[in-house]
C-alpha cells in the first residue's frame, strides 16, 4: 500500500504535474487556485524547473504556447475570469496542435462573479472557449486523489493527441484536504519531432503555426482535427457508474456535485428508491454511450449542477430525449445539499416517467 499524504486538491495538482515531468509553470494570481502557483514557486527552483508569475493570464497562456512549441510538458492554472482571458491562447494552442495542461478551479460568474465554487464554465470548457472549431480534453476530478490522477492523465492525453487537456475543477475540490497517494505509473512524453528546438542544421526548419490563408487547406486541417476528435470520443470517454444497473432514477453529476449526489443516492436506496449515479469523468469527450446504455431502463434523470443547467444539454443529447431530464442546481458559489438532491430524487420517483 503506497504512502498517503494529506493535501489540498490544488497542491495535489501541482505535485502530480511535477511527477508527470512538467518543469514549466506560468500563472497569474487568482482565487481559488493560488495554492498551485505557490506550490510551484516553492518547488520548481529546487528541481531545475521554471516558475514564472506572468504579467497577465494572456501572457501566461502564451508562455505556455512557447514551451509547448519547444516540446516540453507545460501547464498553467487559473479560475473562471482568468480562463476567459486565456481563451485566446487556448484557441491558438488548438490551431497549432500543441499539447498543454490547463487547470480551471471554477468560481461563480459571470463577470467578476464570486470566489466560491461553481461549475458554470462547463459550456466554455466543453465547447472550446475560444474562437473556431476545436475541443479540449476536459477532465473533471471529484476528489483530491483524482486531482492528482487526472493531472497526470491530462499530460499523457495532451501529448498523445497534441492538444490541450483541461482539469475542470472547482473551488471546493481545490481547497479541501484529503489523503492522496502518488503511486502512479507515468508514461514518458513521446518524441516530438515537430517541436521548435532549433534545427541543429540537421533537418528542415519546423514551423508552429495556426494561420492558413488558403481556405481549402484550412478546411482540410479542420476536418483532420475532427477525425482525431472522433477517435478520442471513441476511445477516451470515461464515467463512473454507481448503482445504475437497476436504477429508476439516475443522477448525472460531476466534480463536487457528484460527491454530494452520491450521499443522496445512498439515502434514496436506504429508503427503497432505486437511485443511481452516472459521474462523467471526461466532460469532453462526454460519456454518451454510458448514458445511452441506461436510457432504456431509467424513468427519470436528474442533472445536478452548480450552474443554471449546462451539462443537462449533453445528457439530453446522449439519451436522445428518451428519458425526462430535470435539473437540480445551486449557483453563485452555493452547493446543493445531499438533502436537496434527495428531495429531487423523491419527487422524480413519485412522478415516475416515460
Amino acid at each position: 500500500m503506497a504512502e498517503k499524504v494529506l493535501m489540498k486538491g490544488n497542491e495535489a495538482i501541482a505535485e502530480a504535474a511535477i511527477q508527470a515531468g512538467c518543469r514549466h509553470y506560468f500563472g497569474y494570481p487568482i482565487t481559488p487556485q493560488t495554492e498551485i502557483a505557490a506550490y510551484m514557486a516553492k518547488r520548481m527552483p529546487k528541481i531545475g524547473g521554471t516558475f514564472l508569475q506572468a504579467e497577465s493570464e494572456i501572457a501566461a497562456i502564451n508562455m505556455v504556447y512557447g514551451v509547448a512549441s519547444a516540446g516540453k510538458r507545460v501547464m498553467t492554472s487559473s479560475s473562471s475570469p482568468g480562463i476567459s482571458l486565456k481563451s485566446e491562447g487556448l484557441s491558438y494552442l488548438a490551431g497549432a496542435d500543441l499539447p498543454a495542461l490547463v487547470v480551471n478551479a471554477q468560481r461563480g460568474g459571470p463577470g467578476l462573479g464570486g470566489i466560491q465554487p461553481s461549475q458554470s464554465d462547463y459550456f466554455q470548457a466543453t465547447r472550446g472557449g475560444g474562437h473556431g472549431d476545436y475541443h479540449m480534453i476536459v477532465l473533471a476530478p471529484s476528489s483530491v486523489q483524482e486531482m492528482a490522477q487526472l493531472t497526470i492523465r491530462g499530460f499523457e492525453l495532451a501529448d498523445e493527441y497534441r492538444m490541450t487537456a483541461m482539469i475542470l475543477a472547482d473551488g471546493t475540490i481545490g481547497q479541501m484536504m484529503e489523503p492522496v497517494s502518488f503511486d502512479f505509473e507515468i508514461k514518458e512524453a513521446p518524441a516530438k519531432p515537430w517541436a521548435t528546438t532549433g534545427t541543429k542544421m540537421a533537418r528542415p526548419h519546423n514551423v508552429i503555426n495556426s494561420l492558413y490563408l488558403n481556405a481549402e487547406l484550412l478546411e482540410k486541417t479542420n476536418i483532420e482535427r475532427y477525425q482525431k476528435y472522433a477517435l478520442i470520443e471513441e476511445k477516451e470517454a470515461l464515467a463512473e457508474e454507481y448503482m445504475v444497473e437497476d436504477a429508476d432514477i439516475i443522477i448525472a453529476a460531476f466534480g463536487i456535485a457528484a460527491r454530494v449526489s452520491k450521499n443522496a443516492v445512498n439515502e434514496a436506496r436506504a429508503s427503497g428508491i432505486k437511485a443511481g449515479l452516472i459521474r462523467p469523468i471526461t466532460l469532453w469527450p462526454f460519456p454518451k454511450a454510458v448514458f445511452a446504455k441506461h436510457a432504456d431502463h431509467a424513468k427519470q434523470i436528474i442533472s445536478v449542477e452548480l450552474s443554471m443547467g449546462q451539462m443537462i444539454e449533453d445528457v439530453q443529447l446522449a439519451t436522445q430525449c428518451k428519458v425526462p431530464v430535470s435539473l437540480c442546481y445551486r449557483v453563485g458559489g452555493m452547493i446543493p445539499t445531499p438533502d436537496q438532491v434527495y428531495q429531487a430524487i423523491v419527487e422524480a420517483n413519485e412522478k415516475g416517467g416515460k
Binding site: 506572468a54 494572456i58 501566461a60 502564451n62 505556455v64 504556447y65 512557447g66 516540446g71 534545427t199 542544421m201
Partner: protein, 257 residues
C-alpha cells in the same frame, strides 16, 4: 570569389512585401546576423500578426507564429524551455508590439528576458490597409484618422525606446533606420549586437527600426524614404537609448535638450 550572396538563414522564396517596403531589408539584416554569428541551428524566431505575419516562411531557422502582440510572452516560454541552448528572437510591427502587445513588451523588458526583439516602426497598420498605429505621427492621415491624427482625440504616439529606457530591466535599446546605405549598415551593426547580447547572456535587447510603408503612406518608395528623414526621425530620434554594459542608462536625446 563570392562577394554577395543570399544569407543562408533566409529561404530562397519571393517575399510578399510591397515594392519599396523596408521589411525585406530588415529580414536580410536579421538573417545576415544569424549567419555571421553561426547560430541558425539554435535559433527560434517568433513571427507577429501584421505584415510580417508570414516571416516563418522566410527565415530558415525554426519559427513560431504567435497571436497578435504576444510574441514576447511566447519567446519567454521558448527561451525558458532551454535557456542555455536556444537563441530566441521576435520580429514585430508597431501595432503588434506597441498597441495590443504593450504589456507583453514592457514586462519582457522589465524581466530583462534574455531575448532579441526586432521592432518595425512604420507608423501605420500595413496589413489591414493603413489604419492609425500607436506610433502614427500627430496629424498623420490614415484610414482611421482621415483628418489627420488629432492628439486631443486619440492622444500621442508611443515612443517605445524612450519608454522602456526608464525601466531598470532591459540590457539594450537602440533606434535605427534603413533609409540609406549608411543607415542600413548601422542597423546591421545594432541587430547583430542585439543577438550577441543574448549569446553573452546579457538580457533583453530591442532594436526599433524606423521603416517605410509607401503603399499606405501614399508615396513612391523614394518619397517614403525621404519622409523618414523629414518627419519620422525628428519625432523618433535615432540612437542608443540604453546599453547597460556600456553604462548608458537612459535616453541620451532627452538629456541633450
Amino acid at each position: 570569389m563570392i562577394v554577395f550572396e543570399r544569407p543562408k538563414s533566409l529561404i530562397d522564396v519571393p517575399l510578399h512585401y510591397c515594392p519599396g517596403c523596408t521589411h525585406g531589408i530588415v529580414h536580410r539584416l536579421v538573417a545576415e546576423a544569424i549567419d555571421e554569428l553561426g547560430i541558425e541551428g539554435k535559433t527560434v524566431g517568433i513571427a507577429p500578426v501584421g505584415c510580417s505575419v508570414m516571416a516563418y516562411d522566410y527565415f530558415n531557422c525554426d519559427m513560431i507564429e504567435a497571436a497578435h502582440g504576444r510574441a514576447p510572452a511566447v519567446a519567454t516560454g521558448v527561451k525558458r524551455s532551454d535557456p542555455d541552448n536556444l537563441i530566441v528572437f521576435t520580429y514585430q510591427g508597431d501595432g503588434d508590439l506597441a498597441s495590443i502587445g504593450t504589456a507583453e513588451t514592457v514586462h519582457a523588458a522589465a524581466r530583462n528576458e534574455n531575448i532579441t526583439v526586432i521592432f518595425i516602426n512604420n507608423a501605420i497598420y500595413g496589413m489591414t490597409g493603413g489604419q492609425m498605429a500607436p506610433t502614427s505621427l500627430p496629424g498623420q492621415v490614415t484610414q482611421t484618422s482621415p483628418y489627420g491624427r488629432d492628439v486631443n482625440l486619440c492622444g500621442y504616439p508611443v515612443k517605445i525606446c524612450e519608454m522602456l529606457s526608464e525601466l531598470e530591466g532591459p540590457e539594450y535599446l537602440e533606434r535605427v533606420t534603413v533609409n540609406s546605405v549608411k543607415n542600413v549598415r548601422n542597423a546591421k551593426r545594432a541587430i547583430k549586437k542585439a543577438f550577441q547580447n543574448q549569446i553573452d547572456g546579457k538580457g533583453f535587447s530591442l532594436i526599433e527600426v524606423i521603416s517605410s510603408c509607401p503603399t499606405n503612406w501614399g508615396m513612391t518608395p523614394k518619397e517614403a524614404l525621404q519622409w523618414i528623414d523629414d518627419k519620422m526621425i525628428p519625432y523618433y530620434p535615432l540612437g542608443v537609448y540604453k546599453d547597460r554594459s556600456a553604462g548608458i542608462l537612459c535616453n541620451p536625446n532627452k538629456e541633450e535638450k
